[in-house]
Homo-oligomer: 205 residues x 2
DNA sequence: GTCTATAATAGGATAGAC
DNA sequence: GTCTATCCTATTATAGAC
């Protein structure tokens, strides 16, 4: 160390910092929701100062919208990748649904995508964010229906399963897995063989 | 009028006022979520002053917990009533599930129960409310499994459908019914013949 | 049983230095 | 590119009158 006091955070390119902030925002907003999160919590998670977060995105609202957009694009990409794999095209609708479900749980394991989206879904009343959230939901619906070759009812059932999974995650039901028989049963039949992924997701960042 | 200025609100028994406040809280919390709601918004919806709301329930947190408790009890009662009707016992599991689904949508139409519960489900991170919310979810799960005569997977599917419905409501997707084809399709296959109930729910209080 | 006034604090956003 | 200092408003909660 050549100087007595080190800078609080390294000087890095804006684009990279931006991603860091979005990563931090995904975690905090995903857990605490939009209104329940402060820009200072995001800043601390990103290792920078609160005003810098606001400076970079203009406002808390805008930060959340950009987060929603990024999350939706990633989900879209992932689902599309899964659907276009050659071996998937040969499967029955039910098998494709199960395959997609596993891909969805894998995505959850990576974090930062599904929970912010779910938090956005609860903001229909917000004139700005609500519009983003509804649009994102419909984009996913259409993707599954049109590119997945599913019927309306099949898409509905897939989305329903996803919403249950999302709800169990935001409830933090996974924390009861070891101590509550009912919770274990419910988690077991909701996540299937991939249950380990979400049980471990809590310990990762 | 015998006096020049009338009192802002009538003097009524505490128990009755309490219910009024809970009704108002159900509406506001249900739409805006826990963190997104101020005690003043609840007070205004109830037609009283903000300090009185706090005075009556001790804290915003406690008000929300009491709301969750009331909502869960009402849902429990409703499901139990539906399940114990003699003509229901004779139905197949699939038919019972459909019957319960319709009962659930009827409950939504009455308002004040389902949305606050859903908002609670997003608060797993909260040390106090999270515990309430998880417990409430598990109570409903056990009720369906044990008193409904459903298998684990059947209960899961029922809950999944419920969570999709709840999500569409918090998203306020119903507002797009008349203008967006995709939204209409999704709402149609999610709510079935009872779609009118939720489309009209927006105009009711 | 209900209100007004207000304390105490938190939180988003801005200004300006470095 | 990043921080410190700070403004301003919103919000929960308390005190005390009626």
């Amino acid at each position: 160390m050549s100087s007595v006091s080190e800078p609080k955070s390294e000087r890095i390119p804006a684009a990279q910092r931006r991603e860091q902030i979005l990563d931090a925002a995904a975690e905090v907003f995903g857990e605490r929701g939009y209104a329940g999160t402060t820009t200072d919590q995001v800043a601390q998670a990103a290792g920078i100062s609160q005003p810098y977060v606001v400076r970079m995105f203009g406002s808390k609202e805008n930060l959340f919208c950009e987060l929603l957009l990024r999350a939706r694009e990633r989900l879209e990409t992932r689902l599309r990748n899964a659907l276009t794999r050659p071996e998937v095209k040969a499967l029955s609708a039910a098998e494709r649904k199960a395959f997609l479900g596993r891909a969805y749980v894998d995505l959850i394991g990576e974090g930062g995508i599904v929970l912010p989206l779910m938090q956005g879904f609860l903001l229909g009343h917000d004139p700005v964010i609500g519009k983003y959230a509804r649009e994102g939901f419909l984009v996913i619906y259409r993707l599954l229906r049109d590119e997945g070759g599913f019927s309306q009812d099949e898409v509905r059932d897939f989305l329903a399963g996803g919403m249950l999974i999302n709800t169990l995650l935001t409830l933090q039901m996974t924390g009861l897995y070891d101590t509550d028989d009912t919770a274990r049963e419910l988690l077991g039949c909701s996540f299937g063989e991939k249950i380990d992924i979400v049980l471990n997701a809590g310990s990762a960042s």
